[in-house]
């Protein structure tokens, strides 16, 4: 069974979890030999931006020492054989240039999403 996981709700709990919960979930499923890929759409396309830096959070003397590294988590997932698709239109709408993104991404126009979905047995929209 081949499954495409759509990540759309972005930066939801990422500081508390120190990752994106669905990207983390995909890492864990891949560790269980799941045949999966990931599609970033909506605000989640920003996960692929290299220059983001969430470090520096502190409350009083409590400092976050392991801030989320979302782009790097995608690089690692891609390195495990998981394709990372990104909706081109969502990048353009947010003024994000391809040069700002991590390597290894597969770009897909919104108009061709249905065709992409047809390549999978199931599509899970998280």
């Amino acid at each position: 069974m081949k499954v495409l996981n759509i990540v759309e709700a972005a930066y939801r709990g990422t500081l508390e979890e120190q990752d994106d919960t669905i990207v983390w979930f995909c890492h864990a499923m891949k560790g269980a030999n799941a045949d999966i890929d990931v599609l970033l759409r909506g605000n989640a396309v920003n996960y692929a931006v290299k220059a983001q830096d969430a470090s520096g959070l502190s409350f009083g003397d409590a400092r976050q020492t392991q801030p989320p590294q979302l782009a790097n988590d995608l690089v690692k997932l891609n390195g495990k054989g998981v394709k990372i698709f990104v909706v081109e239109d969502a990048l353009r709408e947010r003024g994000i240039e391809p040069s700002e993104l991590i390597d290894g991404l597969d770009f897909v126009p919104r108009a061709k999403l249905a065709k992409l979905f047809a390549d999978y047995d199931q599509v899970w929209h998280w």
């Binding site: 709700a9 864990a28 269980a32 899970w124």
Partner: protein, 135 residues
């Protein structure tokens, strides 16, 4: 042999309509003769939290008994009972790490602890899987 459906839930109780809608879908699946697997991820691990408690409601002018406040843990227990009475199974797995970080270990009877690998296994052995993510 009954077919199986799998659900992934993410929303905590008492926050939005998705949780109730999910339980209604699960109820219909059981009524339709399906075994049901549920993987509760993130805030959804609080859906079967055993310490949910009813309370009186002064605004409604009702005692705790009169108010009879709905509790998701009771609904889930009822769904498990309903499935069992039909010779079916509602297998509910709470994400273990999500439970730990929330201190939500005290779940109702019948709920077990698991990981995303359990969800993948559920999905592979089901006729279909519905993910109800949070927004």
């Amino acid at each position: 042999m009954a077919k199986t459906l799998t659900f992934a839930l993410m929303d905590p109780p008492f926050e939005n309509a998705r949780s109730t809608t999910a339980l209604r879908l699960i109820d219909l699946a059981v009524k339709g003769g399906f075994n049901v697997n549920v993987f509760a991820y993130e805030g959804a691990v609080y859906l079967p939290f055993a310490k949910q408690a009813q309370h009186p409601n002064a605004v409604h002018g009702r005692t705790v008994e009169e108010e009879n406040h709905p509790l998701p843990r009771s609904w889930i227990a009822a769904l498990m009972k309903e499935a069992g009475a039909k010779g079916l199974k509602l297998d509910w797995v709470n994400c273990g790490l999500c439970v730990d970080e929330r201190g939500a270990a005290e779940a109702i009877e019948g709920v077990r602890r698991g990981s995303p690998a359990d969800f993948w296994n559920f999905a592979q052995n089901s006729v279909n899987t519905l993910v109800i993510g949070t927004k």
